[in-house]
């Protein structure tokens, strides 16, 4: 009888230390493996040359240089000024845009420029490499 009572008492005292250890390990794992980054996507069509050429609407030529400098229809603009320029000109959604990019321009600059265009519903964008002669002209 005494033995049984003692046995019951032992059973009631289950150690929670291994449980706490395991929970801590799981917590560390989730902290290290979890990402809170909210990914987005910038979608654009990849138009073929003939598709762009056959476009009935207006066309706009933009050259993007390494430091973020833009040449739009022969004018030198910054990224913010490009937004103002586009707002001013009121280009329609069917405007074919040729975006010529200097080979050293990082993707972030290209995305910023495309953001400005897409915010104004200009989605017919053709990304092209800027030919060497003009790129050197822009560098200087």
């Amino acid at each position: 009888m005494l033995l049984q009572a003692h046995h019951k008492k032992t059973l009631r005292r289950i150690s929670i230390t291994p449980l706490a250890d395991l929970v801590f390990i799981l917590l560390v794992f989730f902290i290290l493996e979890t990402s809170f980054t909210e990914f987005r996507e910038l979608a654009f069509n990849v138009p073929e040359e003939k598709e762009t050429a056959a476009s009935a609407g207006e066309s706009l030529s933009i050259q993007l240089f390494e430091g973020g400098q833009l040449w739009v229809q022969g004018m030198s603009l910054g990224l913010v000024a490009l937004g103002d320029y586009l707002d001013d000109k009121q280009y329609g959604a069917d405007t074919a845009i040729a975006l010529e990019v200097h080979h050293r321009v990082p993707l972030q600059l290209l995305v910023n420029t495309m953001d400005q265009l897409q915010r104004r519903d200009l989605e017919k964008i053709r990304i092209l490499p800027l030919d060497k002669g003009r790129a050197e002209g822009g560098d200087g």
């Binding site: 493996e33 979890t34 980054t37 996507e41 654009f44 990849v46 050293r104 490499p129």
Partner: protein, 138 residues
């Protein structure tokens, strides 16, 4: 000498004190499980550019990765666009019309544009660039 009473009491007292800690840990654990998403499949060498664009679409889209050095990866393996297309066709699948491209923000155009040109050659009509928005977008 045989009185075990104080020794028995001490651990019980300690366990009582760590219970709130364990509760808190469980809550934190639940928080990370529910709110976070696993990042194990993401290439940590690639940090996508910032943009204001819309939220990421379908999860099943075919995704290529482009590092800042110009290495193109598909399912973690280095490839080229023609080799990727060949592998895709070899598995009896049609090439998708839409590709998701997870490229590094510092990838130069010299690396990025040829990939676009190759995709255009394969008649991929739409490319969606994976971006992030942490509020520092121009």
């Amino acid at each position: 000498m045989f009185d075990l009473q104080p020794e028995n009491r001490k651990p019980a007292h300690l366990e009582g004190n760590i219970l709130p800690v364990i509760n808190m840990t469980f809550l934190l654990l639940l928080f990370f499980i529910v709110v976070g998403t696993f990042s194990e499949s993401l290439n940590r060498d690639i940090s996508p550019p910032q943009s204001l664009s819309e939220a990421l679409g379908e999860a099943s889209a075919v995704e290529l990765e482009l590092t800042r050095e110009g290495r193109l990866l598909w399912e973690g393996e280095e490839t080229t666009v023609p080799a990727w297309a060949e592998g895709f066709r070899a598995e009896g699948m049609a090439l998708p019309e839409k590709i998701r491209l997870r490229a590094d923000a510092n990838t130069p155009a010299a690396q990025f544009i040829p990939v676009l040109e190759d995709l255009k050659f394969l008649r991929v009509a739409r490319v969606s660039l994976v971006t992030v928005n942490d509020g520092n977008v121009l």
